[in-house]
Amino acid sequence: MDLKYVGKDIPRVDAYEKVTGTTKYMSDLSFDGMLWGKVLRSIHPHALIKSIDTSKAKALPGVEAVVTWEDVPGLNGFGIAIQDQPVLCKDKVRYAGDAVAAVAAVSKEIAEEAALLIEVEYEVLPVVDDPIRAIEPDSPKVHESGNILLHTEIRKGDIDKGFDEADLIIENTYYASRQEHAFLETEDGIALIEEDGTLTVYAGSHYPHRDQLQLSRCLNMPVEKIRVVSSPVGGAFGGKDELTIQPIMALLALKTGKPVKMVMPREESIISYWKRHPMIMIYRTGVKRDGTLVANDVKVYADTGAYASLGGPILNLALESSCGLYRIPHVHIDGYSVYTNNGISGAFRGFGVPQVTFAMESQMDIIAEKLGLDPIEFRRKNILKKGEVAPIGHHITTDVESEAVLDAMEGSRLWRERERYRGTDKNRPWIKRGVGLALSWQGMGLGVGLPDFGDAVIEMDPDGGFIVRVGCVEIGQGAMTVYAQVAAEALRFPIERIRVVIGDTRNAPDAGPTTASRAAYVGGKAIFLAAEEMNEKIKGYASGMLSVSPDEIEIDDGSAYVKTAKDKRVSYEEISSYAIERGGLPVAEGHFDLPTADKAIEGAFGLPHHIYSCCGQIAAVEVNTLTGQARVTDGAVVVDAGTVINQGGLEGQSEGGFVMGTGYALTEDLIIENGVVKTPNFSTYIIPTSKDMPSSIETIPVTNYESTGPFGAKGIGEIGMVPTAPAVTNAIYDAADIRVFKIPATGERIYELLKQKKGENK
């Protein structure tokens, strides 16, 4: 097919608004009579609430409402999977940052002052801060039900037999840090009561329709009475998947009857909201002398913090990918997601997979070196292909371009020329340079047993253009542009005259969450299906207007004509007038169910997935052996993307993912000690800046047509940061002969490792 928009270099549809400062994010809205909200949060990581006295706060002039748990009209609990997190705590706080009360006042300053006047009496409890210790029976309990949120155990083959067959067994323990999303726009928004008594909540998030559902539970209000607008978002990366400030703003708006705005200052955002799960991962891997993997025993402890949110599904997705994309006959996987008083962990780009990929791909690097095998050859020998049995025991039935990704990695400039990037720097002999790689795979979509669908609506507007409505959100990934491209292509209609409406429960149909790399794939496919229906309707009208049968009509570029007599044509403007005369403009709907696996893995909810994406990365690093500082100088990203809808968008995702991954590998560590956050700002929590940017990042798409996706596309939103950390730490090993078992590999840690190695060599 000749494509006009898909795969073409189309600039983002929202770019000019963004560069000229006209885009309105949720916190840029304001309304007459607006109040400011402020949350009072617990400073104790674990304590009983003995009493809450709001009288002084209420008496402060300018205060219009103070709310506590008593003001929650419905379920005082939220959570995507399990609703165990109170909107406002009643008798217990479980992390430093837990919300206890909130104030609405006429100014920000008064709201802040009033929050400090609320008196809460606590009885401090012992802090649970170590996930391994937390599962021991005598540990203090974060929740009455115990500290294990989820335990998943998966066996395949006979693990003991596997290790008997092995010639080499490598056992190591890996630690992955708690990562902060660090989106530039913090949690913010406005809630207000409309004239008809309905509630509108403007707050950036991944899924307005689910926010609406969760709010309706907490507020005891029918969903139809709640409208959620959640796009555009100034960055999210998973951190706005779960509710944040929405229910508190809503309570304040309901109580006062006025619009209430809240903006989280950076420190409050970092302390109070979601993080990537820290994980402790104990790996034992057995391999034959010829490089055939035979056994993998994996134990994972994930620190989910104080509340469930998506801790369970994140653990399971991690376990699914924990053995890498390799054929391993004997597998034992044992994972725990554990409650602690360490803040709250939740969804974050990669959804548990970056952690286990760090562990598994380090194991692979260690084994390749011990056996004297080339790291790509070793992976190729064990790589899992379509039709084979995955480590968790199901057959891979869809294309995962594992071999093509390895081939492309091998063919990348960085790998071919790697000798140029290795060895001691001639002019600065204290600089050691090295190159490393890693491979990853990740399930796409929500997994088996979960409703996973998308709806889209296309309407013709009175001047013959189109409005495309789909419920996903624009979090910066370029969804709006991809939707416009898919619609333009499928409708064969100029992209400039297509308007995309997203992220609003009133004006766009439910298309599921903008997570799990599914927005472009599911939303795009629903639009494609709606467009096909629209095209049929248009042919119907045109056939009436031109007095021929509908199958004699062809459409292109905003007009419909008779195939055999091209000058017999009608424009879409004419069609729209014709349609209006006959009862109304055409509307078409598309519904797409994401294909899921036909058999579930027992004891592992949501597993397996059905469609997978795969990504391989190469990193070149420099290690300063005097300071311990490591720097990524160059990178290559190979991604199994299906059809590339927008090359610029793909590069943006892959470069952004790679750079976020280098931060995860080298500097990003949200430290919590005794339940208290030690790095609550950007002077202590260090993310990459323009100066840390590598000199080159080569993006190489592997473009196999994914038959279920829109024009053959697959999701790529997350995978770009998944293998970065092990590619970087494997490169550090290549450079300086030190093995990193704990990320981030900060200067201090590398320095320590270098010192240890010197000691050993003496």
Partner: protein, 160 residues
């Protein structure tokens, strides 16, 4: 107390309290193109130009810059008439979520006023105070180079 600024070429007078932060003052008066919520001078989203020098407006006292010329991203151009830096950012993929974009564009513009032909390191240094979590900075740096070229070729230093 009263302060007077020239914001995007227009003279404006404000009645402020002595401790008022420039970022709050601007946003309360509708300059929503100035972003930012770290309030500690570390993210760069709140960047404005004060007499053509980039500052974090969240750590700038409104009273301290009385009579200053303040430029926000809207002062450079609008949708119908975007500045070359804005055009280059839009065209060459330098915008994702866009929350860092107004600040970045202002830092880039201030650099190009001083140096019409900056090297890669100069650009990196100029953007160092503007965090972006979505991109890998690569497309921004490319965009600044392209904007510089557009401005040189137009024989115009791009000053608004």
């Amino acid at each position: 107390m009263k302060v007077t600024y020239i914001i995007n070429g227009k003279k404006q007078e404000f009645d402020i309290s002595p401790g008022e932060i420039l970022l709050d003052l601007l946003r309360d008066n509708g300059y929503m193109e100035v972003k930012g919520d770290c309030y500690e001078g570390t993210c760069g989203a709140c960047t404005v130009l004060i007499n053509n020098v980039p500052y974090a407006s969240c750590t700038t006292l409104a009273a301290g810059v009385d009579e200053a010329e303040i430029t926000t991203v809207k002062g450079l151009g609008d949708i119908n008439n975007p500045h070359p830096v804005q055009q280059a950012f839009a065209k060459f993929g330098a915008v994702q979520c866009g929350y860092c974009t107004p600040g970045e564009i202002l830092s880039a513009y201030a650099l190009l006023l001083k140096d019409p032909d900056p090297g890669e390191e100069d650009i990196k240094r100029a953007l160092d105070g503007n965090l972006c979590r979505c991109s890998g900075y690569m497309q921004q740096i490319e965009a600044v180079k392209i904007a510089a070229k557009m401005m040189r070729e137009a024989g115009d230093n791009g000053r608004v």
